[in-house]
């Protein structure tokens, strides 16, 4: 998009931070970020589909290299879950953790792609010149909130399932300080803050990391547009930031998975 006329730095950044929005009704809520949705669903289907293909042909005998790799990932996730959750993890929590880890990792990894490559070579031939397209779904607050809120609802669901509705409400008012009616408000306030802060910190941590990473790539791209010196410096720093970003991508996916497991495990424990 460097050929766009009247190009300003703020225009460049703004362009690349705009979503490909599609309005489906009145009001700003009834909008869909097509780029986020298409990228995340495609990545989810590709990643989980590949794992499904491997696991469908999984053999208990000598595993193929593909199966061995999947088992490595499987074992890694399973080990983490095993250390945190002590119920029957195989029915829900462990598969959910695997999904979260792989999916978030794949979405984060889109940061490694050059900024415009998806827009230029895949979207523009279909959608025309200067289509907005952000290829990292996790740098969209909607994605991270969607994941965190789903986990939040699951958390409440499992809390009620394991303690009963009465037990859950009892815990809202009687934990962590005690059962005395005088401190019910304090307990409730405490739990309220916990229930609000969990999805916020869960989603904003991932969003913040990925958004910041993307903005830095944009700034480096901006620098690269200023001339030969900028191009060289931008390329070197971009390579450095990409390498560092490998850590962030994997780490954030791991943290997101761990928090998911911890929240779901905590919900089923009685206090």
């Amino acid at each position: 998009m460097a050929t766009e006329h009247a190009l300003t730095p703020s225009g460049y950044i703004e362009h690349h931070l705009s979503f490909n929005s599609l309005s489906i009704g009145d009001g700003s809520f009834w909008t869909i970020h097509v780029d986020t949705l298409v990228m995340s669903v495609a990545l989810g289907m590709i990643a989980m589909g590949l794992i499904w293909l491997v696991s469908r042909g999984a053999t208990a005998g000598v595993p193929t290299k593909r199966q061995a790799f999947m088992e490595l990932v499987f074992d890694f996730v399973d080990d983490q879950v095993k250390n945190i959750y002590h119920g029957n993890r195989h029915t829900f929590i462990a598969p959910a953790a695997l999904t979260v880890f792989i999916w978030v990792f794949m979405m984060n990894a889109m940061d490694f792609l050059p900024i415009d490559i998806v827009a230029k070579y895949i979207v523009e031939p279909i959608g025309g010149e200067h289509t907005f397209w952000r290829s990292v779904p996790t740098s969209d607050i909607n994605t991270t909130f969607a994941l965190a809120l789903t986990v939040w609802f699951l958390m409440i669901f499992f809390a009620i399932k394991s303690k009963g509705l009465g037990g859950w409400i009892h815990e809202l008012f009687c934990s962590p300080f005690g059962t005395n009616p005088l401190i019910w408000p304090a307990n409730f306030l405490f739990n309220l803050i916990e229930y609000v802060s969990k999805p916020l910190s869960h989603s904003l941590r991932l969003f913040g990391n990925m958004y910041a990473g993307e903005v830095i790539f944009l700034l480096l791209g901006l620098w690269a547009a200023t001339g030969v010196t900028g191009t060289i410096a931008g390329a070197i720093l971009g390579a450095g930031w990409s390498i560092f970003h490998i850590l962030i991508v994997a780490l954030q996916a791991f943290i997101f998975m761990m928090l998911t497991v911890v929240y779901l495990a905590m919900a089923q424990e009685s206090h």
């Binding site: 869909i32 995340s40 491997v54 088992e71 499987f74 598969p95």
Partner: protein
Amino acid sequence: MDINFTLVAQAIAFFVLIVFTMKFVWPPLLNAIETRQKEIADGLAAGEKGRAELEQSSKRASEALTEAKVKASEILALAEKRATQIVEDAKGTAKVEGDRIITGAKAEIEQEINRAKEGLRQQVSTLAIAGAEKILRKEIDAKAHAEILTAIAKEL
């Protein structure tokens, strides 16, 4: 920072992915891994068992070998003893037999000597009688003195 319907769509996508993993991805992988783990554990146990069995049977074999050796040496000693005994017995029998033969031979010799003596005696008596006959022929009647002559012959 605009929250919109994307959130709902993403949540649905997320939920569908979780259910998909839960139903189709996790169970076969888990099954394969657990089956293999069990197979490996079984194999290790079987190997351990086989090793113990081998050890035991080799111990048993060496025990049997030792026993056989002991028995063989016992049999050998017994046979030696028996051989000595047989030789001793044979020696005894041979001595007895030899003695018997010698005794027999001695008796025969004695008999033979006696017979020769008898023969000689008869011949001498016959000779004496013949001599006496010749001498007395003229004077003595054979019939008259036959009794005396027979008595003499008997005394000889």
